[in-house]
Subunit: 349 residues, 3 copies
């Protein structure tokens, strides 16, 4: 029997099955520095212990997306090693702040299975969760992926498409954000004069700046998360594949778009939830990423007078600046669009 992990195939999953993922990971200031070097994030809360402490955090929390990527990375060897496509995310909530020194673990529950008519693949829906060393759940999200079958003749292991919320209820937001002292939130240091009240539903913001991506950068990022998907690393295999090259982890684009969004959303210091997201087109090294955002909704968070929630749609493009807010060309997606992300951020009032 081989000792090598070849990952699960569609028929290996069972409804209700819970999978404990390897490898536990202590997050450190070293990881934070690398994340900064890779994306250039400038949100003051995550950048400065002094700033974070002034508003009520014990110290700077780890960037929400770094937590997401580490938890996501753990799920790959069990869930998506034999995936054909990463189809979507839903109901992603950040539930507790993570600080340097915390150790993250992850598990997933299979909540849906749907064989495709070809019988060669099926869609697996999992609810994945990340935990701190004390058992506190820090993150929870649903992901669905199309996974190959090992044997086309194997029986489908289940047949259930779960009901998923289109958006996370804003009443549930904010568990990962301590009560903050809004008056101590220094707008000059934060780099943006705009508080929650300054944003309008329907407002569109071009984030202006562009960021090129190198092969070494996305490889380092994705390894940092211990994500083992071969499409990001195995140039030998990928050079024979349809794209002829390595594919960049979709989460890399999310982090770039988030970092770029500082220019216009500098006080949106915390991602509280991700309602959904699509990697519209693949991203490759050598392209320059741009982004723009639209404010889809504004919401009060019950019991919170310190922060309000903005629902944002952030679009990332490759090699196309966003002053025209690209999205569609006629009835079709613009081929330059690579990411379409719907999420909630918290902004001080």
């Amino acid at each position: 029997m081989t000792k090598t992990n070849s990952g699960n195939f569609f028929e290996d999953f069972r409804l209700g099955q819970t999978i404990t993922h390897a490898t536990p990971r202590t997050v450190t200031v070293g990881d934070v520095a690398l994340y900064n070097a890779l994306f250039g994030a400038r949100f003051a809360v995550q950048s400065s212990d002094a700033f974070a402490q002034a508003i009520g955090y014990p110290r700077s929390p780890v960037d929400d997306l770094l937590v997401f990527h580490i938890v996501f990375g753990k799920t790959v060897p069990d869930i998506s090693l034999n995936a054909v496509a990463n189809l979507g995310y839903a109901d992603c909530r950040f539930l507790a702040a993570v600080y340097p020194g915390d150790t993250l673990t992850a598990s997933s529950e299979v909540i849906g299975l749907k064989e495709n008519s070809s019988r060669k693949t099926g869609v697996v829906y999992v609810r994945s969760s990340g935990f701190r060393q004390d058992g506190t759940k820090v993150l929870d999200y649903v992901r669905w992926v199309m996974v190959r079958k090992r044997d086309e003749n194997a029986a489908a292991p289940g047949d259930l498409v779960p009901q998923l919320p289109k958006t996370v209820d804003p009443a549930t937001l904010g568990a990962a954000c301590p009560a903050i002292t809004s008056s101590a939130y220094d707008l000059a240091l934060a780099g943006s004069p705009h508080r929650f009240g300054d944003y309008q539903v329907g407002e569109k913001i071009d984030h202006v700046d562009g960021m090129a991506v190198e092969e070494a950068e996305h490889q380092m990022a994705t390894r940092l998360y211990q994500n083992t998907a071969r499409v990001h690393f195995n140039l030998f295999a990928m050079s024979k594949d349809r794209f002829g090259r390595r594919l960049i982890y979709g989460g890399h684009v999310i982090s770039l778009a988030r970092a770029l969004s500082f220019n216009g959303l500098g006080n949106a210091f915390h991602i509280a939830a991700i309602n959904g997201g699509r990697h519209v087109n693949p991203m490759f090294a050598g392209a320059t990423v741009f982004a723009w955002s639209e404010v889809l909704a504004k919401a009060d968070v019950p019991g919170r007078h310190d922060v309000g929630a903005l629902r944002l749609r952030t679009i990332a493009t490759k090699d196309q600046p966003c002053e025209a807010f690209p999205l569609k060309e006629g009835d079709k997606d613009d081929p330059a669009v690579i990411l379409d992300l719907d999420y909630w951020v918290l902004v001080p009032r």
Copy 2:
């Protein structure tokens, strides 16, 4: 009104104006590790807590140039986002040691303004300062940049060229260096047998080694400093520009030259001041950087028997070894010369 920062134009500055820069930044051992990985510095004081403690530091201080780059990076969105050229530095002094865990902030005062005859641009002189979380000033320097006007017809906002010292007075050096126990400074561990007395004015040192630079490296470095200048990152825009490619942050070359200078100046453990510097030619990825130095002067630092000050001129070149000490070809600068830096270092006696 747009929420995006498009930076200040020449006519937006005022003499005497003070600008508080975003984003505060806690410097960690993670940043130090990245700095080491990017430049390969080998100065023992910055590399080893044990070595630093043996001579009188509480622990290894953060590399002087990393402090400089972080403070410089903060000034970019306010001072030089619309710059045509970074013209020079003067009167740069390191005033207090920075240790991992310290949080840096920065502000700038406008000390000079001079419109160019074209009326399309003007030169802005700023004195920029970096501070620790307790308010201690850690760094202070003057920089002047040529900045575009938004509107050619706008009135010049001022007309003053400040008097700047050609060199920092050596009597003012050393505030960032605690009294060190010279006898505990282990020359074998430090990697060089040469103390202050071994250097002669006029002595030239070829630093021999060469270091190639990759796009991923300078992008990671410059993002680490939260420097947002688009010339370093926006390949899409730069590929249409006169050079057709990304320009490497001038500070990257300074850090490479400093790291290379270890070979010959291994005990020059602290940069106490920068008298001036010019980025003589642009640097691009793929080139190999070499460096040589000349000892311009030697000085006692009043009250300090532990260290002496060397005034150095360090020249960095691209794709040209420095055994011939390249500088000029006839009356012209050698096109391979990319940096001409004049600074004070401290060396144990």
Copy 3:
């Protein structure tokens, strides 16, 4: 007299000579994060403080190979700056765990010297050791390199080829591994169900995954170790050399092979010794590294009921997957083989 270090030539070495190497180096969580980003290691003990503590470590130890690379890097300026070839390793033992915050120093003793018949070069054998700040020896290994003579007519400085063990005696293994609580070693979190008893002598394991290497990655890694060998960095010089490009540090391939070996050897959490190793062919950026391993032997470690020792031979290849366990083509090494490493790992019982 030049102040630049031009390294030792063959005739500069003396039998019995002890060389203290510069530069002491404090290892931090920042270095660990970079190591993770560069190699994507997934061994739970090194990844998670919580996991390490559960089995008896005070916290996650620094990866054995990171310790090796840092110690090795220190020896380069004194031992191998004028090396023609790095010929081999033997008798490498890890003697004490290293934790973030520890400071490493290194020294070497010359234990063999053998001039080549050409009289242009000679082989230098050194026993190099790494130490913690408290003087504890953490690592000890023999390396031999072919070093140029400065002057062909110089007398040979000695003539002794040392006797070296073919393999490290397993009875001496384990000093760097505290007694672990095997029952607390969580196989699900560790990512592999296989304990010591599950491995058979003669068993071959294809590690399946492939990892491409970029120039920026190996430069950052090698600078992180303060390794100054010009072949890795000086593109200008190397582009005129026989390969026309930078050569990747052999240790980079060892670390990649080790990280890839997680897939099949996930519980081989500690490298206890390296019996020998050969860099069979040079490695360049742009190639994809694969690896496979054979279990050469199994051994009890006297007094240890918690762990057993596997002697492994790990082969790394470039641009060639390892399902056929490539090694030889007829009587010759396969040109795709780049590393042939013989070492002992500890695995929980």
